[in-house]
Symmetry: C2
Subunit: 222 residues, 2 copies
DNA sequence: CCCGGTATTTTGAGTTGTCAAATATCAAAA
DNA sequence: TTTTGATATTTGACAACTCAAAATACCGGG
């Protein structure tokens, strides 16, 4: 009855892959295989299984769409994952560059009881250390429309979210004050060179950052 | 290279089963099967596997003895388990009656990094909430010789350890102030009836407890 | 010294999750 | 329309872990 951690990982990945798409859109097996680093055949097999179990709708050669049961399960995993990340940073004082990997393991091992205590202890937080929203215990996952900094024109923005887990990248960001909540000024951009010139609030010097690296940063207009 | 959580559970169980025995003693497959709730055949298969992997010495129809590699691995699991239990009680304020079950899951999912932070945060504790010693990071597991309260004669003792995980029993103990560190006076015992009369430090009334229930309590002479 | 009961091992099979490689499908280009 | 290339599915296999039940070994009493 209770999904295995393998199943949880599939569901979580499908949820992530379908974020932003219209609800009717299907996720292709290939993208799932890619995301989980599995062979396509493995994914096909599992999709049939998850369909039989009622987690999702699998239509051969079309793809897959979460059903309510799968959606609920996936959101709960996401909730655990993000609460754990915040817990590791806030309470255990772990480096934010590494908490994703840790949470990846722990998200399958924490009981509801422990998750509830953590949630309470952290004061029912709304965002994890990367700025991702933490779903409530009721399973409501609200999405915000944020813009990649790489799509913005000159102006003042609030850095809301970082959508990349790579520890080296995260360390680089933190060393330059680029953490969620900080105010950044996009002073100038050179579209031909693909470089942005930023002023990070609280930092001395301006900062040059390439378009790909700016693309992982999601901002809100101030 | 890294043991699966299944293997960790076998090793942990073998360590527990060989605690108190002389180091040359072998643990029988039957007892392992019993402890892990598996069929004997399953255990035989696994013992051969663990022998091949160098975790232990398996002698057919004799039993099994941990080798250094298996001993180390088992002690590390024990360390994780006990640190987690204490962490859950001290930091997360979970009920001590339930932390064993939680730790049983988490002990396989925590990285060394997290364990180290927890250890530090708790101030390098020596004992878990049940009074079991927590092995150091170096893998040293010291054993103390404690007496079951059911073997003691009238006198004053310190309750050091509770060697049973059953939540109902633990709740019952706590409600009567019987937690590790408390001083208890064995006022009288009725060997024929199999009942002990206790005075728990800080409690009003004396307490009657049966021999089996007293047998799970380990004490040190005051 | 054999005999019966208990503990252990063997055997054959099932489950879950995975891969490699052969095969099938489909849409877009030719 | 036919071909082609990308994507998806099928097939056969394997590794880890487990069980049920048959076969075997061991031990103590008669």
């Amino acid at each position: 009855m209770v999904p295995t951690s393998t199943v949880e990982n599939y569901l979580k990945t499908i949820l992530r892959l379908s974020a932003g798409l219209e609800p009717s859109a299907m996720v292709s097996p290939g993208r799932i295989a890619e995301a989980l680093d599995l062979t396509p055949g493995t994914v096909t097999t599992m999709m049939k299984h998850l369909d039989r179990e009622g987690y999702l709708r699998y239509q051969p050669r079309q793809g897959v769409r979460l059903r309510p049961k799968g959606q609920r399960a996936a959101v709960q995993v996401l909730r655990r994952h993000r609460l754990i990340e915040l817990f590791l940073v806030e309470i255990l004082r772990l480096d934010w560059a590494h908490v994703h990997e840790e949470a990846e393991l722990l998200e399958h091992a924490l009981s509801d009881r422990v998750v509830e205590r953590i949630d309470e202890m952290l004061g029912r937080p709304a965002y994890d250390p990367h700025g991702d929203p933490i779903p409530g215990a009721d399973g409501v996952l609200r999405e915000e429309c944020l813009r990649p900094l790489s799509d913005c024109s000159e102006g003042i923005y609030e850095l809301v979210r970082v959508v990349r887990e790579d520890p080296e990248y995260l360390t680089w960001l933190r060393d330059r004050g680029l953490i969620p909540g900080v105010q950044v000024t996009l002073e100038m951009r050179d579209r031909l060179a693909g470089i942005l010139l930023l002023k990070v609030d609280g930092e001395e010097a301006s900062l040059r950052i390439g378009e790909p690296a700016a693309g992982w940063l999601r901002v809100r207009e101030c």
